[in-house]
Every structure is written in C-alpha cells, then in structure tokens.
C-alpha cells in the first residue's frame, strides 16, 4: 500500500456513452499538498474529481486514493476523504447545526468526538447565531461556508473540492481560501478545481492544466510561468492551449 501519495492517477480514461471525457490523464498528489486542476468548462475537471470521490467509475486506467483502489476499495476511500461538489446543495429544512451534527454522527463513532467536531465546525463556519437557522434562509456564501465546515469537520486525509469559491464574493472567497490553507498545514492533502487562476496560483503547490479531457501541462506555478515565459497562470494557460492547437 503506497502511503506517501495521496492520489495516484495513471492513464485515466472516462467515456460517457460515445463521448470521451478524459483521455489518458496522469498525475499524482503528495500527502500534505494542495493540488489544483485548472481548465475551462467541460475540460474534465469535475469528472476527474468525481472519480477520485468514488462517485464515478473510470472506464480504464489506474486510480488510487490514499493507497486504495477507487473501484474495489471505494468504501475505504469514502471514510478517509471529504468531497465538496461545485453545486453542492443543502437540506433546506435543516438548520446548519443539525446538518453538521448529522454528518458528524455518520463519521465519528463516539458521541463526544461527534459533539467536539460539530463545535469546531460551527466555529469554522463563522456563522455565529445563524447556525441555528434553517439553511434555506442562508445566502450563497453562507451555504458554501457550512459546506466547507462540513468538509473539514470530518478531518479527512484528502479533501476534494470542486470550485470551492465559485460564485462567492471576495470576503467569503478569502475566508474559504484561508481555511483550506490552514487545513493542509496539518499534513493533510487537498485537490481542488478552479477557474480562478489567481486563486490556484496562491493556494496550490502544484497544478495541472486540463483541456478537452487531457492534461496539457503539470508542475509548480512558478516553474510553469518560467517555462512558458508568462507573467501569470492565465497567460500560461492561453499559451499552452494555443501550442496544443497548433
């Protein structure tokens, strides 16, 4: 069992009917690393994250998460990871506190551990007294905060975050980024997808540029900028796409 790598993906292929979503995707994420997947809509970011979260099955290829195979050992993976979908919804009629409490009781065996985790998550959400309000009354930013709190409350070894700050205002987005950064300082890993190149540049130690289901470039943000002679990741991305096209 490989423990040093949080994620290991080799030649991952995914078909939806006749449509190919991922073509021989290969990358790895080390333990304690924040890894970013960047690319336009429909590039294959969400499909990759869903496979890692054991929601979708790979058509072919080798995918291991925290040393476990995503097909045959999916249940083991689920107890070690936490997944945040891009458009993750909330249970409108539950309060934020009830939601966190229910999730904590699923993840933690002991009642005390669950209660402590909920208290931590309540603080992490920063929702204050609104935590006891029904979630249907929450703003988009508040909903995302409660989801982020839920993700990190369970102390996962790997957090899989699909567009964690999408649609959030600058205050909420900064808050979420701060939490992600703090979380990995404890030696845990994060893989996230984003459209926001600046966010990825600040957060991720390494990243992969994905387009049309293929990884086009992979490396540290600074190394990629140096390689393509670009001042920022946005320009790197544009140059890579053009080079790929030609």
């Amino acid at each position: 069992m490989l423990k040093s790598m949080a994620i290991e993906v080799k030649n991952l292929v995914k078909y939806f009917g006749n449509l190919i979503a991922l073509k021989n995707v290969t990358f790895s994420v080390d333990e304690g690393e924040i890894f970013g997947l960047i690319g336009p809509n429909g590039a294959g970011k969400t499909t990759t994250l869903r496979i890692l979260a054991t929601l979708l099955l790979p058509t072919s290829g080798y995918v291991r998460v925290l040393g476990y195979d995503v097909i045959s050992e999916a249940s083991k993976i689920r107890s070690l990871i936490s997944y945040l979908a891009e458009d993750a919804g909330i249970y409108r009629n539950l309060t934020g506190y009830e939601y966190l409490s229910i999730v904590a009781r699923i993840y933690f065996e002991s009642k005390t551990d669950a209660e402590e985790a909920v208290e931590e998550a309540v603080k992490l959400s920063g929702l204050g007294e609104r935590i006891t309000d029904k979630m249907k009354t929450y703003s988009k930013g508040m909903k995302r905060r409660i989801q982020i709190a839920r993700v990190f409350m369970t102390e996962p070894k790997l957090a899989i975050l699909d567009e964690p700050t999408a649609g959030l205002d600058v205050f909420h987005a900064q808050y979420v980024r701060k939490i992600i950064k703090e979380y990995t300082s404890e030696g845990r890993s994060v893989i996230l997808s984003s459209h926001n190149m600046l966010e990825v540049e600040h957060l991720c130690s390494r990243l992969a540029l994905i387009h049309h289901g293929q990884i086009m470039a992979l490396g540290e943000p600074q190394a990629l900028k140096n390689k393509y002679g670009a001042p920022n990741l946005e320009d790197v991305f544009m140059k890579v796409v053009r080079a790929w096209g030609s």
């Binding site: 979708l56 107890s79 993750a88 919804g89 249970y91 009629n93 699923i106």
Partner: protein, 439 residues
C-alpha cells in the same frame, strides 16, 4: 453510534418541515371532515325543506265521497294540496309549475268505484323537475312516501271491511321472516342487510381504501424526498459519505414510511370524521366496531401476518418511490412519473374493494396477486369474516422475495454512474415525446 439513525433523523426532519410534504399530510384531516360537514348540511337542508314546503297540485276527476276522503287523508299526512278545477293536463301542469308545486296528482274518474269494488284504484303522479338537485329528488321521494302511507291506510280499511276480525298487517305480510347471519362459527341475531353496510363499508372498502391511500402517500413521499435530493444536489454529497448505498436506501424507506404512517393516521381520522358527518345525517351511526361487537376477533397470528404483509408492502412501494425519485432530476418530473406506479396499484385496489377476487378473470386475479400491496388489503378484508385464504399466506414469502429484490435493485441504482445515464435517457425520451406532440 449507528450510521442509519442520523440518516433516518435527517430524512424525517427534512420531510416533516417541507411544506410540499406537510401540507399534503394536513389536507385530508381538514378537507375530509369539511366535505362530510358540507354534504351532511346540504342533505339535512334538503330533508328539512322537502318536508316543510311539500306542495302538490291536484285534479279530482272522480269527485266522489271516496276521492274527497282520499284528498283529506293526503292533507292529514302532510301534503299541501292546491286543488284546481277540471281542465286539460298541459294547462294543469302549467298551473302546477306556476304555483311551485313539486307534483301534479290526477285522480281519474272511477277512482272511488274501483276502491269500493275492491279493485286497484289508479292515481297519476306527474313529478315536476325544476332542478337536478338533491332537493328535487327529496321532494319526489316524500310525495311517494305519503302516497305509500295513504295506500297502506286504505288497504287496512278495505281489509277491515272484508274481515273485521282480521289483523290487516297479517293479511298484508303473512310471513314472519326472522333473519340471522352466520359468520365463521358465530350466529348473529340480525339479518345480513343490517350488518352488511358496516362489513362492506368498514372492512370491504374503508380499510383497503386507507391501505391504498397509505401506499400512495408513501410512494409520493419517497419519490419526492429522493427527487428533492436530486433537485437540491444533495444526493451527490450523500453518496460520498462513509455509508453504504443500502443504508442510504434504508434511511429513505424508514423515513418515508414514518411520514406515510403519520399521513395514514391523518387520513383515517379525516375519513372517520367525514363518515361521521355523512352517516350522521342519514340517521345511521357509522361504527366499524359494531361488527366487532358481534363477531369473534381474528386470532393474534392473523394480525401478525397482516403487520408483516403491511411492512413488506410499504417497503416495496417505497422502493418504487425511491426509484422514481432517483430517476427524476426534479420534483416536477417525479410527480409526473408517479402515475406510472400509482395506476397499476390503483386498479387491483379497486378490484379488491368492490369485487370478489375469485369471480374475476384469471389475468385480473394474477394482476392482483402479483403486487405485494394487494395482500394486506385482501387480508384485512378476509380475516374478519373467514379464515385466511391459502393464496394470501403464500403471498407473504412471495412479497418478501419480491420486496428484497426491488430493495436490492434500488440500492444498486443509487450510484451516480447509473443515475446519470438513466436520468439522461429519461430526459431524452421525454424530449422526443414532446417533439412528437408538437409535430
């Protein structure tokens, strides 16, 4: 701490607080008694108005002492008579209408002669229908009752004239029929007609109807709950939790069943209140326990079998609801797909309620016995008056196997890989249908 418990808690809390669910639960307990009250008020008003202002127009062509006495008798029995002179039938009807009479009575010539000659005397009744309503029917019924009563009085008078010593009632009804009803090993001192209403309405219709409504509620709740998960995008997150698909499904089944049982209780209460109101007007007490007082209760094992059958039936139908909800991308779609499940359940339920299964064609019998939802209905109907039929007993293991299969298939379906493909295919199919309709 079991993982199922928080999931069930989530289901129940989320469902009970959802207006789409709780409004549906509250409606029967408000609407049904209101309906019962409205019907009974309307009916009692009809009864009162029918007796209060019962007016008839009368033409006496006979004009004998006998016909005059007959008119006095009708008057004494409560008819408000407006007598008009000898004229054509059409004109008489016009006059009757203009005066607001409910009927025109015509006593033909020879009426008195016929009666005195011990022959049947003719009276013509022209019922005037001014509206198609209960008041019109009520008025006509009262006119007929008064004529029947007068006929009985005349009959007694004629009998007394022929045989002064005889008892007119004995001559009219020489047979003293005393009815008993045999159910199981018990002889009940009441004719079948007396307890038939309670048996048919209580056990033949009401209990199967409640079970049917319970099936509908449970399917609807399970489908809506799962469709909401799809619509609100919470199912995807739920499926990444360290819980098995089976536990997620069980939580949905248990949560929906608890809410459905609550809904069933609400409906039963509403239904009983509706019947109280309805039968209250008719001067009958609607009491299901009336039959229970005279009938021996079924043995406890029958209740146990009924409970097992009911649980299996609820799990079966809830699983179908979860499948519908899982395949629907939103609540609207699940509502339209629900008909696919409800109609096949509705037809056997109606057959069980109103028919005798053994007399039905074979394919309908097979349809009834193919559905686990039929068995508790048949059991509740049969166990009170007969021993449990063997085919119903065989139905329990059959229902258990079928339900397990459906639960297994449903738990396998709760995988995004399969759901995405199936939802896509369903959407595509519906789009094609819409295109066809437009063309």
């Amino acid at each position: 701490m079991g993982k199922l418990r928080p999931l069930v808690e989530k289901e129940i809390k989320d469902l009970l607080r959802d207006p789409r669910i709780y409004i549906g639960l509250i409606i029967p307990i408000i609407m049904l008694p209101l309906m019962g009250f409205a019907i009974s008020t309307a009916m009692s008003h009809v009864g009162e108005s029918a007796t209060r202002s019962l007016k008839v127009t009368l033409i006496d062509h006979d004009r004998t002492n006998v016909s005059r006495s007959f008119i006095t008798l009708l008057d004494n029995l409560g008819l408000k008579i407006m007598e008009i002179s000898d004229e054509s039938l059409l004109k008489a009807i016009e006059k009757a209408k203009a005066s607001g009479s409910q009927a025109l009575l015509v006593i033909p010539q020879g009426f008195g002669e016929s009666l005195l000659g011990f022959e049947r005397a003719k009276v013509e009744v022209y019922s005037i229908v001014e509206s198609i309503g209960m008041s019109s029917i009520g008025a006509q019924s009262t006119v007929n009752k008064i004529l029947d009563a007068s006929s009985e009085i005349l009959s007694s008078m004629l009998i007394s004239k022929i045989a002064p010593e005889a008892e007119p009632e004995v001559i009219r009804k020489p047979l003293n029929v005393t009815g008993y009803t045999v159910i199981k090993d018990r002889i009940i001192s009441a004719p079948l007609q007396v307890i038939f209403g309670q048996l048919v309405i209580g056990y033949g219709i009401m209990i199967p109807l409640i079970l049917f409504v319970l099936s509908i509620i449970v399917t609807q709740i399970a489908a809506t709950a799962t469709a909401i998960e799809n619509e609100e995008k919470t199912l995807e997150t739920l499926l990444t939790f360290p819980v098995s698909r089976y536990e997620i499904l069980m939580a949905k089944l248990l949560g929906s069943s608890v809410i459905a049982v609550l809904g069933g209780i609400m409906f039963t209460l509403g239904f009983l209140l509706y019947f109280q109101g309805f039968f209250g007007f008719m001067g009958q007490e609607f009491r299901v326990e009336g039959v229970l007082e005279v009938l021996p209760l079924p043995p406890p094992e029958n209740y146990a079998l009924l409970a097992i059958s009911l649980i299996l039936s609820i799990f079966f139908i809830t699983s179908l609801g979860v499948i519908i909800g899982a395949l629907s991308s939103d609540v609207r779609m699940s509502t339209s797909l629900l008909g696919v499940v409800i109609i096949p359940v509705l037809i056997p339920s109606l057959l069980i309620m109103y028919g005798d299964i053994k007399n039905l064609p074979l394919f309908l019998q097979l349809l009834i016995y193919a559905l686990p939802t039929s068995y508790p209905m048949i059991m509740s109907k049969e166990m009170i008056i007969s021993t449990m039929p063997p085919e119903v007993l065989y139905g329990i293991p059959y229902s258990a196997i079928l339900t397990l299969m459906v639960v297994y298939v449903t738990s396998k379906l709760l995988a995004p890989e399969k759901l995405l493909v199936l939802q896509y295919k369903l959407k595509l199919g519906r789009r094609k249908e819409k295109m066809k309709v437009r063309k």
